[in-house]
């Protein structure tokens, strides 16, 4: 690239550039590593209650404007749901309007299982998720025979079918329009009541075991999602989104990849739906299987930024705030649907890639690291020409301290 440096000041400028590139490369690798992602999500989960509840309360903001702890748990649950949905919408390019089906059947399965067999939260989570996976397998197997709008309509139709089946023919099991009231939540690992506070951790960070449970599930979901996206599988999914025909013509079985993506997103929805029931100890049919749930998850994912993975967390947060806090505002509260609509339009118009797209853009403005690194030869040359001895000494000391750095291995 910009190699005029080499001739002007032989070696040293280029060596500096290579050090700069390798420092940046290492930083980028750390930033993008799975462990960093896990740690950041964990810190986010830990800090959210403090930043959203404790801090505003201490600052004396009116309580009707600030978050409450169970709403943060609910946001975490929806974020898990949205991560799975984004896998399908953002990365595979499939728009499903029936995801309430997986969230809802998992919720019912977990609830009914707790009443009939065992109230262990882990068992409920496993049963709910497996149910969602089976349902997603069957529905996906049928719906994925059609693409685009037909796929969306098919999933919507199946979702509505499930809703009505649970509403009346199965009402003796599901409780019909009253929802399922007999959830019998047991103790986590047989010893922990999810409502209890977690010992050693201040309430301001983790209010209860329930939040810890949901938070751990979220960290797991983020890491799992991140891993999928960085696997060959994730690359193939994006290929299908970009150009399905070409993907087929490099010899990939597009249909099976899409089905697996559908099932995976169903599994995330199942995890979220099960935790939702564990938190509420009740399955309200309108918040489980009604088509509006399928709509909400589309809105949340697009708000956060389709194809961003992390955007889902912010999309869920914004949605939950408007739906649960803004809706309680004096005077304007009753218009919260309209407010949500305005927020949605504003985000889509101003930030076409959602909230996460906005964050990425802002980060690009602040940290212009790639450009700085690209220009490194020119900048360092000026430094080296002015202070040749100091430059050499500094470079040597850097080399001693950081093994394998500088000279050659610039990635």
């Amino acid at each position: 690239m910009s190699d005029e440096t080499a001739s002007a000041s032989p070696g040293v400028g280029e060596q500096f550039a290579s050090v700069a590139r390798s420092v940046y490369g290492r930083w980028a690798a750390v930033r993008d590593s799975e462990l960093t992602v896990a740690v950041l999500t964990f810190l986010g989960v830990l800090l959210a209650p403090y930043v959203l509840v404790e801090l505003p309360t201490q600052l004396g903001l009116p309580t009707e404007y600030i978050w409450y702890n169970s709403l943060i748990t609910l946001t975490v649950v929806w974020a898990i749901f949205a991560i799975g949905y984004d896998l399908l919408l953002g990365f595979t390019g499939l728009l499903s309007f029936g995801h309430a089906m997986f969230w809802g059947t998992a919720a019912y399965a977990a609830g009914i299982f707790s009443a009939e067999v065992s109230g262990s939260p882990i068992a409920m989570l496993v049963v709910g998720t497996l149910t969602a996976v089976v349902v997603a397998w069957v529905i996906g197997w049928i719906s994925l025979r059609r693409g685009g709008i037909y796929f969306a309509i098919l999933t919507l139709a199946f979702g509505q079918m499930t809703y009505y089946i649970f509403l009346s023919p199965m009402s003796n099991i599901t409780g019909g329009e009253n929802g399922f009231n007999d959830v019998d939540l047991g103790l986590l690992f047989g010893i922990i009541d999810l409502g209890d506070p977690v010992p050693l951790i201040p309430d301001a960070f983790v209010a209860s075991w329930m939040y810890a449970f949901a938070g751990v599930a979220l960290v797991g979901a983020v890491v799992f999602g991140y891993r999928i996206l960085n696997s060959p599988y994730g690359v193939v999914l994006r290929a299908i989104r970009e150009n399905e025909q070409r993907a087929e013509f490099v010899g990939l079985n597009v249909w099976r990849y899409k089905l697996m993506s559908f099932i995976l997103s169903g599994a995330f929805a199942g995890v979220a739906g099960s935790i939702y029931v564990i938190q509420r100890e009740y399955v309200p049919i309108d918040n489980a299987l009604r088509w509006t749930v399928s709509g909400d998850i589309v809105v949340i994912t697009v708000l956060g930024g389709a194809g961003s993975l992390f955007g889902s967390l912010f999309g869920a947060g914004l949605y939950m705030y408007v739906a649960n806090i803004v809706s309680g505002f004096p005077n304007i509260g009753t218009f919260w649907h309209m407010i949500l609509g305005i927020v949605f339009v504003a985000v889509i118009v101003l930030l076409p890639n959602g909230i996460w797209g906005g964050i990425t853009y802002a980060r690009g403005l602040v940290v212009r690291s790639p450009e700085i690194v690209r220009n490194a030869p020119a900048t360092t040359r000026r430094f080296v020409e002015t202070f040749p001895d100091r430059a050499r000494a500094w470079l040597d000391s850097l080399r001693r301290r950081i093994p394998g750095m500088g000279g050659g291995d610039d990635r």
């Binding site: 696997s231 060959p232 690359v235 193939v236 013509f249 490099v250 010899g251 990939l252 079985n253």
Partner: protein
């Protein structure tokens, strides 16, 4: 010597329209066969039948001696038939390297592998192949560019790379020079000839640019209204009266 690919009385009807009418075509290993004919002659239909994008009405297609009519398109690709499309068919929002990477995964891992738990860089054979593909189509330096930002000629080269990643024994090329400038056409023709020589490829070419066709072809088959009306070396076809009739409305060349 058995043909690499042969079609056996291949018939495709769209309602009442006979798109291909008992087509018997053979491609020998190592040759470059061009398929020409006026618009609507059935060239694309024939290509789509071979790639299994279309279901035949009657007849059989054999590749390396085995019938492929019951296969899905991706299975045909896995057997060794590659295709380059009329418009550069790439993955536009992904980088050049990722484009080649996807093709390499298809080639190394087969139609489907549920490998969602390992990092994609953990497959050296795939990386190696990706590197080779990009080197072959001379796009190694642009590997970090987003594919949609490439100039058109480079996009076509990338597409060719994607099609070649699976090392097909037969490559179907649907108008590779469509929409190219004379210089790009020239470069593409050179590339095709080079690839054919280097990789021992058999190529079936659909092309409208007669200059290109007569320059590169070993054999030419002329389609008109769904039937093959002439077949032979470029010289034979050029002198064929039926071809002149179909193509030029009887005007002498």
């Amino acid at each position: 010597m058995t043909a690499l690919l042969e079609t056996d009385d291949l018939v495709k009807k769209f309602g009442g329209l006979l798109a291909t009418d008992h087509v018997n075509l053979e491609i020998q290993e190592g040759e470059l066969l061009s398929l020409i004919g006026p618009n609507g002659a059935g060239k694309s239909t024939l290509i789509n039948l071979i790639t299994r994008m279309l279901e035949e009405t009657e007849g059989d297609i054999r590749f390396q001696g085995e019938s492929i009519v019951d296969l899905e398109p991706h299975e045909v690709v896995q057997r060794g038939i590659g295709k380059s499309f009329q418009t550069a068919s790439i993955f536009p929002d992904l980088s050049v390297e990722e484009n080649a990477n996807i093709a390499s995964f298809g080639a190394e891992h087969g139609s489907f592998r549920f490998n969602f738990f390992r990092h994609r860089n953990a497959y050296p054979a795939v990386e190696e192949r990706t590197h080779q593909v990009l080197e072959a189509v001379e796009l190694l330096d642009q590997r970090e560019t987003t594919a949609s930002e490439l100039p058109y000629g480079d996009k076509r080269r990338l597409e060719l790379g994607i099609a070649l990643a699976s090392e097909p024994s037969l490559l179907l090329m649907d108008e590779p020079t469509a929409g190219m400038s004379p210089e790009e056409t020239e470069a593409t023709v050179d590339l095709v000839e080079e690839l054919q020589a280097d990789l021992d490829l058999t190529i079936m070419l659909v092309e409208h640019d007669m200059e290109v066709v007569f320059r590169v072809s070993d054999r030419i088959a002329v389609l008109n209204r769904g039937s093959i009306i002439a077949e032979g070396t470029p010289e034979e076809v050029q002198g064929d009266e039926a071809v002149q009739e179909a193509y030029l409305g009887g005007v002498e060349l």
